[in-house]
Symmetry: C2
Subunit: 222 residues, 2 copies
């Protein structure tokens, strides 16, 4: 990469950081706790939301920003849960950025919600560089992806709040030791929570939900 | 994206295309048939190579270029098969580009090989834009990723030579109809071959291997 390209990239990232700080401040002011869900394609981010949101309703008011390269399929799935959702179709772009999220938030009833999920584009590389102004970044990975993803894609596992290891129902057929994934995560994010679970069977969901509820209580403190 | 950013991106892509054409010409001259394997993280590109290469040896001479954001784990796996391999660690970059491949090819005994596999970074978005000078782009996806990946990541499924649907051993536990994936692929790449297979059980590998061998015969024609 030449000097001009590096300068342009730096400018883009700096502008993104400024916008992200603005979003973070605005959400904090409204007492909204936000989660940026990142993962490979097909790890189950939308399935996690489908398993999570009905268990939080009606006591917790939730909204969702859905990011996809193409189609509004995920937003349609979330919409059927009865919560406000905005779809961002990036039209080829490989990650959400703070400006896309800022525009999407303008279409949500922020005064009425306590929890915001942002589902990023399925990509374990590029979203690592783009702060969306969220409080927590959560990596979702699937048992079927193997044990070595934290080692091979370290950037996105760095300084995350939590890692969800989804599809534990596939463990009997996959050569994956949960303990190995957990320790690989710990090396990159020593304070990260680790939630092995199955959105399909419901196994492990309670521990994840307890963590979300705990973060909400922290978030609503003055 | 502003005008400067768009211009810089166009320049990068144009330079990449020129390099890719050079690679394509050089490989053609040597009678080497090349495959650029792209997929999500954890779909099983390296496992596919581990299942494929020993079945082609010793009659077909193979070499591999391995692309990863971090670690040389995949190159070590390929090296143990006894074929020449060069690891490209992108150091954070989300895709291989033609310049990286050009340098890697300088370290391989091109005069002695007939088939070149390039394993791209695990990413279903960015590698779509970077021609590496390969003859065939092959998308590898796993049954565990669900049916809708071709619809949600159309760019990378566009004008591919083949799609491998890996991990068919997981079908009994996944809500995926092979036929639906196949028809989604056909809409984006009408001429693409479609290979459902399991690197673990060996199911379906023969059809994939027959295709590779057929392409090699075509490639060695003057």
């Amino acid at each position: 990469m030449g000097a001009v390209e590096i300068k342009v990239l730096k400018n883009i990232l700096k502008a993104n950081e400024d916008l992200a700080e603005g979003i973070r401040g605005a959400l904090r002011e409204k007492g909204i706790v936000s989660f940026n869900l990142v993962s490979s394609p097909g790890s189950g981010k939308t399935s996690l939301l489908e398993a999570t949101i009905p268990r939080l309703l009606p006591s917790v008011k939730v909204a969702v920003v859905e990011g996809d390269v193409a189609t509004a399929r995920d937003a349609e799935r979330i919409n059927s849960l009865g919560v406000p959702v905005v779809q961002i179709e990036t039209g080829g772009a490989c990650h959400l950025d703070a400006n896309m999220v800022r525009k999407a938030l303008g279409e949500l009833p922020l005064g009425e919600i306590a929890l915001l999920f942002i589902e990023n584009v399925g990509n374990l590389v590029c979203p690592a560089n783009y702060d969306l102004g969220e409080r927590h970044r959560v990596v979702v990975m699937s048992v079927a992806e193997g044990e070595d993803k934290p080692l091979k894609y370290p950037g996105i596992f760095h300084e995350v709040s939590a890692v969800v290891l989804n599809k534990t129902d596939l463990l009997p057929l996959c050569d994956v030791e949960v303990e190995k994934v957990s320790s690989a995560v710990s090396r990159l994010s020593p304070d990260a929570r680790f939630f092995p679970l199955s959105c399909k069977t419901g196994e492990g969901l309670d521990v994840w939900l307890d963590w979300l509820r705990g973060e909400l209580e922290g978030g609503s403190r003055p």
